[in-house]
Amino acid sequence: MSATAPAAGERTGPERAAHCRYVLRLADTSLVLGQRLAEWIGHAPALEEDLGLANLSLDLIGQARLLLTYAGELEGAGRDEDALAFLRDAPEFMNLTLAEQPNGDFAHTIVRQWLIDTWQLEIYATLEHSSDVRLGAIAAKAIRETRYHQRFSSGWLVRLGDGTPESHERTQRALDELWRFTPELFTPDEIDEHMSAVGIAPALPQLAPRWSARVGEDLRAATLTPPATPPYPWHGKRGVHSEHLGHLLAEMQHLQRTYPGARW
């Protein structure tokens, strides 16, 4: 690697590390969210939803595989997708804190999914035209999946929010609890800013209004009330996580940790 990113030839170590870290953030958000959805298998409210959530999960894990493989190549330390997925500890995971939040009830899962789907929709749509052609190709594949994901989750959001008094109350509660993780979605740090400056990644503050508009539209249709935006910024994408990620990783990584190199 890697001739795919235009500037790769003469880039410095720190730049490459920032690039790698940026790709890891995308990868880990998809991986962790995919793992969360997989926890529903066998437990969804209906057989059809079970398959629906499994399909979303597989799409997300598929995105994570492409992104992790690429991150491993950028890192240049010989780590492949499996090493990155199964042999890193929580502080090395760069996913959005929202992605690792527990499934809760079905409304919780839907609200979390919808917030991230709508985020990914904006991110991938811009990344499709990234100066990094490899990332652009991954985004081009992912955006088609994400359009369906957002259709699925926004459909459920409206159905639950504008449903029975109980489903409305549960969905509003999920929104109230998860909303505090949303500032992280569009608050750039120095890596985001650098990647945006070199034309690889979108400028997050420019995407935020588009996300807010779409989210607002869906919330109105769902008769839900957007909570006040909280001041506390989470930093999952910097490796500072809520208490939930460790438990998720313990389960996800158990097999590889116990039987290193096991294949099946």
Binding site: P45, E48, E49, L51
Partner: protein, 95 residues
């Protein structure tokens, strides 16, 4: 909520452009949009189709099995309704 609360839908899939929609099975869904999504998730995971129809099963008018004899039996001895009943003259190349 159990899926038994949801109405039943019949799913039809068009496997390729130009072909007709064919019945693929049925599923439960709360509304038409969910039925399309369920049909996509349950019946088109392996590229089975390019178009979907869903119809509420309750909206389908079906023939009564009790009347099967009256409806279908009379066609049994009308073999002349099959094109293979007729000998095709050798001069006819394309039919």
């Amino acid at each position: 909520m159990s899926e038994n609360d949801w109405p039943l839908f019949e799913v039809f899939i068009r496997s390729r452009a130009g072909l007709e929609h064919k019945h693929a099975g049925s599923l439960h869904a709360a509304d038409a949009r969910m039925a399309i999504e369920h049909a996509r998730d349950v019946y088109t995971r392996r590229q089975e189709g390019v178009s979907l129809w869903v119809v509420r099963s309750a909206d389908i008018v079906a023939s009564d099995p009790e009347e099967a004899d009256a409806l279908f039996e009379p066609a049994r001895d009308k073999v002349y309704r099959h094109p293979t009943f007729y000998a095709i003259p050798d001069e006819v190349k394309n039919l």
